[in-house]
Amino acid sequence: MPKVKIPRKSTIVDMTAMCDVAFLLLTFFILATKQKPPEVLSVKTPTSVSSKAAPDKSILITLTKEGKVFLMLGDETKKAAIIDDFNTTRGLQLTGAQLAKLKKAEYIGLPVNQLKSALDAPQEIPASLMAGIPTDSTNNELSFWMRSVTNAYKGEDQRLLQDMILVKGDGDALYPIFKSVKEALKANEIFKFRIVTEGEQVPAGSELYKTGKEDKK
């Protein structure tokens, strides 16, 4: 019997298809990832059982550990209007160039009296050196900023605005700072806002766990 020749099959696997799939998925994930805004202010938020995601378009008030207050206007469509309104209502008399620079800034963290000189300065002041927006009861500038915010949204759906106002605070920030932020919001008749937190599991066996629904407060 002659030897049966078994044809040797090639072990080469065509990788092209796999490569295609890998990169297709890669592209999808890159596009689906929302670019997280660079965190210039390091804030460690507390945790809560709330499962609602924070909106990405927001008016964010940040409280740092040191007790400084920063304001970020995340709604690009209204940012210019808010800053213009603040300029006119507070009588800042900023020049066009200064206004443009302020509108480009990612966050506002300076008292009004330092704003002008900071805008003229060639170099940007790092967040750690900013004084924060004053919120004390005698000079609550945050309240003026919030007034401009409410002015800019006048005549629009107020629920939309309510959903956008976020307070993000460091867990170690002292309560009085939060209280003055609260006062600033209250002064502008904003009674509903949200606090940005890190997610947390609902504790097993608790009341919320049993009913399984979050209170619609």
Partner: protein, 173 residues
């Protein structure tokens, strides 16, 4: 890597060497999947949540009557401690101390809730007053409001410390 060379015995004829145009895609696939894993992890892990807070409209004084025994007041003290008492501060209530751990403040809230239900037949009458002191921090405030959600307390108010509360805090336990 992914291929084992197999000699072709068929063409024995010597031709001038022709290089294969095939490229080994294995490293590229590796890299692709590595990046995918990276992006998958970063997308799911950074989703901050938002917790609702509603402030009372306090331009007009509240007019609804509440029962005194239904009220529990928690004072957020320094060093992550809580002091609490039942009823009105004027009547010199017994002040107790607790913390933020699950078995501490949560059980206090649940006990009071059950107590109100037994006495009034409706746990909805339970009222929680939260009074943060100047020494408490933001995390304490978020924790206590979170505890309110966890225990499903229907009515709670965030108030300021009165003089009587301050005196109570100064008192030794």
């Amino acid at each position: 890597m992914a291929e084992i060379e197999t000699k072709r015995s068929a063409d024995k004829k010597k031709r001038f060497h022709q290089k294969s145009t095939r490229v080994d895609l294995t490293p590229m696939v590796d890299l692709g999947f590595l990046l995918i894993t990276f992006f998958v992890f970063t997308t799911t892990l950074t989703t901050p949540t938002a917790m609702n807070v509603i402030l009372p409209y306090d331009k007009t004084p509240p007019s609804d009557l509440i029962c005194e025994s239904c009220v529990l007041t928690v004072l957020l003290d320094k060093n992550n401690r809580i002091k609490y008492y039942e009823g009105a501060v004027e009547n010199g209530p017994l002040i107790k101390e607790t913390g933020y751990a699950p078995d501490e403040i949560r059980s206090v809230l649940m006990l009071k809730k059950a107590k109100v239900k037994r006495a009034r037949g409706d746990e909805g009458q339970f009222i929680l007053l939260i009074k943060p002191t100047v020494a408490s921090n933001f995390k304490n405030f978020v924790d206590i409001t979170d505890e309110v959600t966890i225990c499903q307390v229907k009515r709670y108010y965030i108030g300021e410390l009165g003089d009587a509360d301050k005196r109570l805090l100064l008192k030794k336990l």
